[in-house]
């Protein structure tokens, strides 16, 4: 797992660069879901509220929610996932990224888990 990331209990990762955050789901989540066949993401411009279900990630057998790890405005959704949802399985931290969000409340970043805390979580799970 990359060092510069923060995580949520719902297995999202967040990479912060200035006032922008890139969001995806972790390899642990992708592994749990199995082959991902469909990803539904919020449109550019959509306002996200932390902890809301803002998108859907579907595997062959199941439908899962994507939760907003932080509040902010969607500046870009990964258009490649429409044609290639399997990128989430093959490269969850890279090409499988889901959203770029303009952070509206930087203090929310403090509430995210660091790598060690997330690893503890997945070890127990």
């Amino acid at each position: 797992m990359a060092q510069d990331l923060r995580y949520t209990k719902e297995h999202e990762w967040v990479r912060v660069e200035g006032d922008l955050a890139t969001v995806g789901i972790t390899d642990y989540a992708a592994e749990q879901l199995g082959d991902i066949v469909f990803v539904e993401l919020p449109d550019t411009g959509r306002a996200l509220v932390r902890a809301d279900a803002v998108g859907v990630i579907e595997s062959v057998k199941a439908v899962s929610d994507l939760f907003a790890p932080i509040s902010g405005e969607v500046v870009e959704a990964n258009a490649e996932l429409a044609a290639s949802p399997e990128l989430v399985n093959s490269d969850p931290f890279g090409k499988g990224w889901m959203l770029r969000v303009r952070i509206s409340d930087p203090s929310q970043l403090d509430a995210l888990l660091d790598k060690a805390a997330y690893e503890d979580l997945t070890r127990e799970g």
């Binding site: 199995g34 082959d35 066949v37 469909f38 539904e40 859907v56 579907e58 595997s59 062959v60 057998k61 439908v63 429409a82 399997e86």
Partner: protein, 370 residues
């Protein structure tokens, strides 16, 4: 015999699945592999090469006696009296009210010996119903479900992988035929039946022989790219092949006619059978709903339980749905009002808060060319 661990049965191949890194789930009271390498990869392997399935959770019920055929003709909707020795037929056990208790396959092993294979989820119910229904006939029911392992090999390479391991002459085994002999040196029934839409064989052996047979098939199949396949891909394969799943397309509130399986009900056979009066009426009245295939024409995957609309009118419900690995598009089966069931009709599936167009298409979605 299968062991119960914390309430779940384990098949005799549990250690093989563990060694293969299978993800196990609970299914019908059994611990079963849902996937190994992944559902899409396993699905594609079956369509292009072959896959091995552990189906030991299914029920195997033997009926022996001079009245075996007549007893089954009374208990089931099909006519096993017309089945030749060494042949099998798809059938159903129905309730007196005409609803489906289980769909199953009946194999005639001898003039007076049949094997009925039932879904794992209904094995006990099928057995109980048979016990009741065969009373008074000269026949004995032997439920050998827990003593029998079932391994299936399905896919275009099935014959070439299995043939060297068995003395049953597979080239002489037609579709829906069954032979007795051995596989990997173990006594076995070999049937040319399956639930994937591909060529393939279902191999019935004693639980003590299961490991040896599985290992032999894995070893023989490895150079050909044969892989183990779990229940996840079993479901996507049968859905593409337009085959019903009990609990989704079939159940106590559905008649065979509504599921498009009227041809299985032999109303012209001699004598009464369980459900006759209700099924005669159902056939005469026409279906209240019809099973249709749906090809989604917008973005979204239709799933079991999603509602189906014709304009503003709710017309039915999705019974099974997924992203078809072979077609690369979302497909589904659903019940719709008969007037909305014509192929070509555009309906809408309610996926979360959106209505996504879906076109009624004839089943199956996929037919093999080999």
């Amino acid at each position: 015999m299968a062991q119960a661990h914390g309430g779940l049965y384990a098949t005799p191949l549990a250690d093989r699945h563990a060694g293969l890194g299978a993800r196990m789930i609970e299914f019908a009271g059994w611990s079963m592999p849902v996937q190994y390498a992944g559902i899409l990869e396993e699905h594609r392997a079956v369509r292009t090469r072959a896959g091995l399935f552990d189906l030991s959770h299914m029920g195997e019920l033997y009926l022996d006696g001079p009245d075996a055929a007549k007893a089954l003709a009374y208990a089931l909707v099909s006519d096993p009296t017309t089945l030749k020795v060494g042949r099998a037929q798809y059938s159903m056990s129905c309730f007196a009210g005409g609803g489906v208790l289980d769909d199953l396959i009946v194999y005639r092993l001898a003039e007076e010996r049949f094997m009925v294979v039932a879904n794992a989820s209904n094995a006990a119910a099928v057995s109980d119903a048979l016990v009741e229904r065969i009373a008074g006939f000269k026949v004995i029911l032997d439920d050998r479900s827990l003593a029998t392992a079932l391994i299936a090999i399905q896919g275009p390479l099935s014959l070439q992988v299995l043939a060297p391991l068995t003395d049953v002459v597979l080239d002489d085994l037609r579709n829906y035929a069954v032979g007795e002999g051995s596989v990997a040196g173990k006594p076995a029934l070999v049937a040319r039946t399956g639930y994937t839409g591909e060529d393939g064989f279902e191999i019935f052996v004693d639980v003590a022989s299961a490991g040896r047979v599985w290992d032999a098939l894995m070893d023989a199949g490895r150079p050909a790219g044969v892989v183990p396949v779990g229940l996840g891909a079993r479901d996507t394969l049968r859905l593409e092949a337009g085959m019903p799943l009990y609990g989704n397309e079939l159940g106590p509130d559905t008649t065979p006619y509504e599921a498009g399986l009227g041809r299985v009900v032999k109303l012209t056979k001699e004598g009464d059978f369980v459900g006759r009066a209700a099924l005669e009426k159902a056939e005469a009245d026409g279906p209240r709903k019809k099973l249709v295939g749906l090809a989604l024409r917008g973005r979204g995957i239709a799933r079991h339980g999603y509602e189906l609309f014709a304009g503003d009118r709710r017309t039915g419900v999705v019974t099974s749905g997924t992203l078809s690995p072979t077609l690369g598009e979302p497909i589904a089966m659903a019940y719709a009002a008969p007037s909305d069931a014509e192929p070509g009709t555009i309906l809408e599936v309610k996926i979360r808060d959106q209505r996504v167009p879906a076109q009624v298409v004839a089943l199956p979605f996929y037919r093999r060319t080999t």
